[in-house]
Amino acid sequence: MTKLTSFTLNGEFVSTKSALDLRLVDVLRCEFNLTGTKEGCGEGECGACMILLDGHPALSCLMLLGAAKDRDILTIEGLRATQGFAVLSQAFNDAGAVQCGFCTPGMIMTTYALLRDNPNPDDGAIRAAMAGNLCRCTGYSMIVEAVSLAVQRRGETW
């Protein structure tokens, strides 16, 4: 008997027959072809695999598929249709916050959730929220600057 795991993925109801002990990051990338979620370490240290689980940042490399059952999962592919993403990505562009880009989708997931819950974070709050997202290229300052820009420009976006 095959077990179905159902959950909401980027706003759509989906089901899969895959083994429950597969890592969510693999299911997203290989089965649903959502390769915007990256794997940088596979051990919960880098944040490249960040998704939103019921709206909160979560590491998809540390989650097994079984844990996704009946939950609401948002990946960068889902986020990019939102106004919030448009503001954030424009700010990342303007601040020069993207170099190799491998950390970027994860950074955007994290900072999107931050700005939703804290409309006016200061430099310290932005850095604290990003502490689980490693970036080797930028030295972080231009990413912090991008998030501050997004704070100024967000209006009532999200």
Partner: protein, 708 residues
């Protein structure tokens, strides 16, 4: 200033959206996954390999599957793709396990049983030189040795009143690009395409031709967007490309080989650890009469590019100074440790740490202001290089010092109260230069390399170049240069990731050559294309790579101008030392850099910030034993957003006439001065001398215990 506007990078939006396809995002019908089976011992002979029972559709691939030769032909020293009879370091590849289901492939790889006869391993560079273990390279373990000198160095020491000696040590540094190494090899009719995260597509194609014993054009290398490189995707990708290609050719199916982070930490190249002894001959007044520098770089089980890294480091070993006499001796030694290779700075971070730490310690010894003390020996325009060439162009070092000191309010902060409760505060500085690109012989023809511009039917112009944008913004910088030369909007300039079937061989992307040398080649090509822009149809203009006219270099005698151009810079760092935990926190870093004409200030700021923070990690956090690699990111700490201080930087405009619009390089230099500046700041805060990177709490505590 010709470039007043920062251009948006066209790669940004795809990277934000997650639509940019890195090599690990590719997949093909019938694709197999590959996992590398690696040595678990440091040094030994392979006695026996027992394979598990292989299910249908699963294969193993080893040296016997290599069509022609088990040697990465890019390297002149021995360097096998797969170990055959002996292993020389932990994690050396022995075979590949291949099959459709990655989890099954992993399990099979774990079940391979390998018996070794172990040989006493060489763990440190000191052991390599002492010769207490069976030698692993010739009888002295020296892969490569080189020396340079000028003036009467023996006379300087014979006539000296005092000799001052320092010994500095630096450890490994892992690149830690966020995207691990990966390739996919796809066999096609009469051809094989290899998709790779690499800094050198054509070099891989050549190496594959060598291993297969066939025309290299059989292979097409498609470079994929890099999730970071920093020099780490020059050497290791040869192995992955070879492995995946051997497997794809054996199985006749696409093969994907992506390293896990654990493998990437264990098996890929790192920055060479170093031990550098500097002796200064001093007169009675404390003037330097001559400097003798002995550099040892620790290489791993195979030499890889240690010759070039050591050579470049040695040519920078006398720092920003010209002494009355100097001698530099360098050796790269074999150990059974993780392999060392190219890394942003290429030998410079080690030798600059040594010379700046020596000079700063000397200044403290004589209670002299360090900047004034050092100024007596500054290189100036017209000064001889270590190799008897000349510094041909204006040396903007004093301007960078002035600007960094102004930004940092250095004179005031130096005098600030240094103790607040358990916190000691200190400020430090370091001066550096960065010569690049390295010269090729000027008395012989250059290899035939070129870059091109393709004028398309639609009027757009495509840059034909294999140079890789690994995140540093190179494609945007080169597009800007071409757009400026053609006087057309940058939107009309196209630059795609390299496909060796479409673009000519130019070079590996590294050694800070891309803007200063190849940018100039493209500008010259654009100047040729300009009058023909309105011609109908599609045509291309190729321009050969040539060195600037001022250059004289004799590669046999190692005489002349070792580098084309020099970037000059000053770093000032302020730190706080917690005397309860002996942890050091950088509070702020200021950098002033002469990059010639800035092509794009936003991209340059990204390079300065990123290079500085990578240098900060090297100085304070990124610690690993000299002989082992952590297998997890949890054990190799790089800076997070909470660890980094503000970095304030300024550019000094000192155009370099042969560069495109006067530009020099910018990617590597910002890292160089950070280590010695941090150490100087900690030394000033604590009132001791420090000689080691990283400055770990353990090291500092031990030093302070010795002091009291």
């Amino acid at each position: 200033m010709p470039f007043s506007k920062d251009e948006d990078r066209i790669d940004t939006i795809g990277k934000c959206c997650g639509t940019t396809r890195y090599v690990g995002d590719l997949s093909f019908d019938n694709m197999l996954e590959a996992v590398t089976v690696r040595s678990t011992v440091r040094r030994g002979k392979i006695k026996k390999i027992s394979l598990p029972e292989m299910p249908d559709g699963y294969f193993c691939v080893d040296a016997s599957d290599i069509p022609h030769q088990n040697q990465v032909t890019y390297f002149q020293d021995t360097c096998p793709y797969f170990a055959e009879s002996e292993v020389k370091y932990i994690a050396q590849p022995i075979m590949l396990m291949v099959g459709p289901d990655l989890r099954k492939v992993r399990r099979l790889a774990q079940k391979v049983q390998i018996d070794y006869e172990e040989i006493p391993a060489i763990h440190t560079l000191d052991e390599a030189l002492e010769g207490t273990k069976p030698p692993m390279h010739n009888d002295d373990n020296v892969y490569f040795k080189e020396d340079f000198s000028y003036g009467d160095i023996d006379g300087a020491f014979a006539g000296s009143d005092e000799i001052f000696e320092t010994q500095t040590r630096t450890g490994y540094q892992e690149h830690l690009y966020l995207e691990t190494q990966g390739v996919v090899a796809v066999p096609e009719t009469g051809k094989m395409t290899v998709y790779a995260s690499t800094q050198g597509p054509h070099a891989i194609r050549k190496a594959l031709g060598g291993a297969f014993g066939c025309d290299e054009e059989y292979f097409r290398i498609q470079q994929m967007p890099l999730g970071g490189g920093f020099g780490g995707k020059i050497e290791t990708p040869f192995f992955l490309a070879g492995h995946a290609a051997f497997a794809a050719s054996k199985c006749k199916q696409p093969v994907r080989l992506i390293y896990s982070r654990e493998e990437d930490l264990l098996a890929t190249t790192k920055r060479h650890p170093s031990r550098i002894v500097i002796r200064s001959a001093l007169d009675a007044k404390g003037n330097i009469l001559g400097v003798d520098i002995d550099v040892v770089f620790q290489a791993g089980g195979y030499a890889l590019s240690c010759r070039m890294v050591l050579d470049t480091g040695l040519k920078k070993a006398t720092g920003v100074y010209h002494f009355p006499a100097a001698r530099v001796l360098g050796r790269a030694v074999a150990t059974n440790n993780p392999m060392a290779g190219a890394y942003r700075g290429f030998g410079g971070p080690q030798t600059f740490f040594a010379i700046e730490t020596h000079m700063n310690a000397l200044a403290r010894k004589f209670k002299r202001d360090p900047l004034q003390f050092k100024a007596d020996y500054f290189i100036k325009q017209g000064t001889d290089t270590l190799t008897g060439g000349k510094y041909h162009f204006h040396v903007a070092l004093p301007e960078t010092i002035k600007e960094a000191a102004r930004l940092a309010d250095y004179e005031r902060r130096k005098k600030e109260q240094v103790q607040h409760g358990p916190i000691l505060r200190g400020i430090g500085q370091a001066l550096f230069s960065f010569g690049a690109p390295f010269s090729l012989g000027t008395n012989q023809p250059l290899p035939n390399r070129c870059m091109g511009l393709l004028k398309r039917k639609d009027g757009r112009v495509e840059i034909l170049s294999e140079l890789v944008d690994m995140g540093q913004g190179l494609h945007t910088a080169l597009r800007k240069i071409v757009a400026r030369a053609l006087k057309i909007p940058i939107e009309r300039i196209i630059y795609k990731d390299a496909d060796t079937d479409r673009v000519p061989e130019a070079s590996i992307t590294g050694a800070s050559m891309s803007v200063v040398l190849f940018g100039r080649v493209l500008k010259d090509a654009a100047d040729k294309l300009k009058p023909r822009l309105e011609e109908p149809g599609e045509f291309s203009v190729l321009e050969k790579v040539k060195q600037p006219d001022h250059l004289q270099w004799d590669p046999v005698k190692q005489q002349g101008d070792p580098f084309h151009s020099y970037v000059w810079g000053t770093v000032i760092a302020q730190v706080e030392v917690n005397t309860l935990t002996w942890q050091v926190a950088a509070r702020k870093i200021w950098t002033a850099l002469d990059v010639g004409t800035p092509i794009d200030r936003r991209i340059i700021k990204g390079q300065i910030d990123g290079g500085t923070i990578q240098g900060l990690g090297y100085s304070l956090l990124e610690s690993m034993p000299m002989d082992a690699m952590p297998a997890s990111l949890a054990d190799y700490i790089i800076p997070t957003s909470l660890d980094v201080p503000p970095v304030e930087s300024a550019l000094i405009a000192n155009p370099y006439p042969p560069g495109p619009y006067g530009a020099k390089c910018v990617g590597e230099p910002p890292l160089i001065g950070v280590g010695p500046a941090i150490v100087d700041a900690v030394a000033n805060a604590c009132g001791i001398e420090l000689f080691q990177l990283p400055v770990s709490p353990e090291y500092l505590m031990q030093k302070m215990a010795n002091k009291s």
